[in-house]
Symmetry: D2
Subunit: 341 residues, 4 copies
């Protein structure tokens, strides 16, 4: 399509993240136009359409796939539908933005990626953190050689509050639901592939999470193809807010990034010097990143250039997550080569 | 008008700040609709209209004032037209948002405010910094008594680069053009009125500024009605970026705010520990504040509530600026009561 | 004397600051030996002598001046005795370290300096802050041209608690007692002389300070010989501790220094992110500076080199302080040339 | 001995750390008196004695053990002599301060501790970091329940430069030489015992370290008896200086500590905002901690109270270090219960 033409987009799924993308596409992404919204819960689609002036709402996303005016879809439906819809959308010739993860099952991921490749459409996976100014700056400095040869990666990633137990049960577990973002960060920041992991963890935040078969606190050791090593620490509950810090250390220095706060005030009084907590959670913390990833997707469609987070980038962190899960269960380091579709 | 109805807005002036407001009104202020743009340079109005999907562009702002569908105008024209257009818009029954300053002449300011009062329309002046999250937080803490009784106010306000000399010549001088924002901040943060000032300054950045009859570096001492004192330091050129810090000190503590940066990275290497410069200038630094002031204006119109920065708030900093100018010229402290229309 | 020989020192005055110097000389200044302590309150001298293993204690400081084994005296007696003892010590051929200020009266200061010059002995004044690593680093960077040509100096200097009212009454007032350190800093950091001042202030901390004829809160504007301007803000009571910050801004950048804290911890919890208050007061904050100034004095005596803070450095801030006092009283800017002995 | 009596101390070993302790004992520990210095290199002992006014220097430390006037010894000799000298000093009835580690061999450690217990003398091990104000503050806050129940410990500990290869060869390896301090920190900060470790690492700094059979970069996962988990990352070479940070995260918050710097300056210029590197290495970073540990030892002797870092505190980190070494070599998690004397 012409680079200056608006991309007509159909959004599939009008839940929390779907509405977020609709708002951004409608107001903050000049090259995009939301043509239709589909949600199995029709009133959800209708409400979002009304709020953002979208002309069409439907309960059946096939309507979007069949519409020749729609060039691209943004998939925000339940995780277990991602792989299937990717295949269907690819078959319909639509470019695809899909929320992470593609699936928890490698075979299904590979089917989806295969369908995309056969159809020659674009696929971008929603690893939004890559578009955050802090992490982007760290990546740029690492890539520019500012820290020399990389030796150690350190990621702290803690949520402010655990998800509902019902979600935990279908989430795929902490490694595939939460740490997966950090695995993506690890690949993004270092430009190297993870080859092996060792995962430790436990249930410290809420015993119900344990009863649901998951853990809520974890430390994962990473081995990289370039010889470096890394460590990720996760918690489902940091009472002070969303804690999102990374640090890359190398032969010539170290680059790190602090948390973002709602304001830069400092209060000094008799009890100490006080500042604001980090921004509460991903909606607040990553607004600009969500917008930037959509702009990048729309530009890739407009300019017919590769998307910045492709199918393989969607697959690789799942492999790391499956290895971490196995490592935790078997209490031993697990090579990624042990994980297969 | 009904609270859930969109406010039809006419924007007068499509220069840099005008385009900024048009973009925000079009994309970030849900309650607003830009109905028309006027600019004496018609192509400027037309280009902005095309870019943001505004249906009408004209060289004659009277068209906007005459249009019964337009409820409010946003005045972004040259400073010397502000007072006159305010009167005309008030006479036409339009609610008014006007960029600062209303005028450099108190008599004309008073005529404009008088016209607004007689017409019973709303007037909001564009002191955007009041809507910045940092300064807002400081104000809230001061108002909440977090620092007890206020003793000292300290403002550092330095631009990254001086304006063109042609602009300097018509700007009214540093106190009415640049420090005026800090005078507004002083009133806003303390909730008290300035009663007297003492201004020191000089030409240190560029001799051409001196040749144009202005200075580029200043320190202003403030006396407040509540007994507190304050100091403002200004420079037209901080090579490290836009330096915008305030501090309020009192009997129970101190609250201050740091600069905002484009990212929160830290690079440590053999030569030290390094971070990003402050955001470059007002466009970058105050984007959210510009949006928030427009939302506040639109909400005041929708809900028929007072605007948060009224005519008197537009007048008072001009009085302080005139007193500062006189203080600088006469090399003595000047009481605000010496300044009259 | 030989550079490797210990300097025998007599300390005159064993009050708080005297004991501090005795401890440092006895334990932290390798080139010094405290030979005797004099205090009009003999038990004070005896107690200090016993504590730090000093062989002699006396109520009569003339004993020290007459002792040929003593090469230098450290004067820590009441301020109104400084000028006289300097003259007596100079006449006795002793090198002299004297606490600030020399006197509040310029004529007496000049007599003291004259006596020192005639005797050819060394004189160092106790402006300890010059030896603080933070301020030293700022000075070095300014002197090295890191900020280009200096435009603005900003000093914040706030005590944690006011002195006793009895002390306030004989202190010479805030400008000669407290701000005098900042006037010295202004000269030290900029390498330029102050030529004119404007002082604002008030009684905000304690009405008793006002009843004693003094003020407790002040802002002083400074004009420098090099064309730059500056501002100092003072309070006698910062509830969060000793607030000692400086900032020098110039054509190529800005260098500033933050407060020191007892530790570098950060606590993040649901109410915010919290750190330690600044070190409480000058004893805690400037310990290393007090030691370094004594080392510098002893080395100047050993090596027969100029002292780093000489008589003129002791006189100049008094002139600035007298000008500030006059400015405050007469409510007008005062040139230093108006002040005469 | 009487609480107000000075403790006569013999120092065994006058190398770098020995001289450091001698200086502190001579000048900064009021309750101590260095009675004699022993070093197999007699001139080293003599030079230190001359420098700090110590009356006796000898090549034979048995002279010190035999001297009834000496109540305590400070052992700073080569690591492989520690256990033996502890036993000899205990047999001689001397209280003992011994540099870490006691030994690399658990059987010899147990012999040394047994000898100390039989003799009823005091033993303090030189884990100096426990006396650092930053770590002490973190420990106090954890102990006070400020972070609730502990979930995650994170330690970053990086040296500015690797030791000489000759030292590496006899050091016992990174886990027993360098990480041992972090293992001690882990026990100190959490108040819990480590039960299992997993160690990853490699040779990234200098291939010669690999040729010497050691690694220079490591990440160690810790499991604690209280259910928490932790991670330590180490490097032998951080070009920006000694990087010593800890963080304890729990159910109610997080407490962390930053690095110390030689000064608190900030330089802002066109290229960014710059501050000082961390203090270079342990001598600079831990001066106050070294003094505080000596004061604590001397007070324990004077007051006949337990030492704050006892024999078991010296033994436990060696067990963790041996487990880490085995984990690294066998590429699997290792329980501390697998390690035996």
């Amino acid at each position: 399509m012409a680079a200056n033409q608006k991309v007509n987009i159909g959004v599939i799924g009008a839940g929390r993240i779907g509405k977020l993308h609709i708002e951004h596409l409608a107001t903050r992404v000049p090259g995009a136009q939301v043509a239709a919204i589909a949600d199995v819960v029709l009133p959800a689609a209708q409400a979002a359409a009304a709020q953002f002036g979208v002309p069409r709402a439907t309960a059946d996303y096939f309507e979007l796939l069949k519409d020749p005016e729609i060039q691209a879809v943004v998939i925000c439906s339940a995780t277990d539908t991602h792989a299937r819809i990717i295949q269907e959308a690819a078959a319909a010739g639509k470019h695809i933005f899909c929320e992470k993860p593609i699936d928890h099952d490698l075979a299904r991921i590979d089917q989806a990626i295969g369908a995309v490749e056969r159809a020659g459409v674009k696929l971008q996976i929603g690893f939004n953190r890559r578009f955050d100014p802090n992490f982007r700056r760290v990546r740029e400095m690492v890539a520019a050689g500012e820290i020399g040869e990389m030796h150690i990666l350190r990621i702290t990633s803690r949520d402010p509050a655990p998800p509902p137990i019902e979600y935990v049960k279908v989430s795929g577990g902490i490694f595939l639901d939460m740490t997966i973002h950090d695995f993506d960060m690890a690949r993004y920041l270092t430009g190297s592939e993870v080859t092996e992991v060792y995962a430790a963890g436990g249930v410290m935040v809420d015993p119900k999470i344990g009863e649901a078969g998951d853990i809520d606190t974890a430390i994962v050791t990473l081995y990289f193809a370039n010889g470096a090593i890394g460590t990720i620490d996760n918690s489902r509950k940091a009472v002070y807010g969303y804690d999102q810090r990374v640090e890359v250390f190398g032969s010539a220095g170290m680059v790190a990034t602090a948390n973002n706060t709602p304001d830069a005030h400092t209060l000094a009084n008799a009890s100490g010097v006080h500042g604001a907590c980090p921004l509460y959670f991903f909606i607040e913390r990553y607004t600009e990143a969500y917008i930037a990833e959509m702009r990048a997707f729309v530009e890739a469609v407009q300019n017919d250039t590769p998307t910045p987070v492709n199918g393989n980038d969607g697959r690789a962190p799942v492999v790391i997550g499956l290895a971490a899960l196995q490592s935790y269960r078997e209490h031993r380091p697990v090579k990624l080569s042990e994980i297969s579709a």
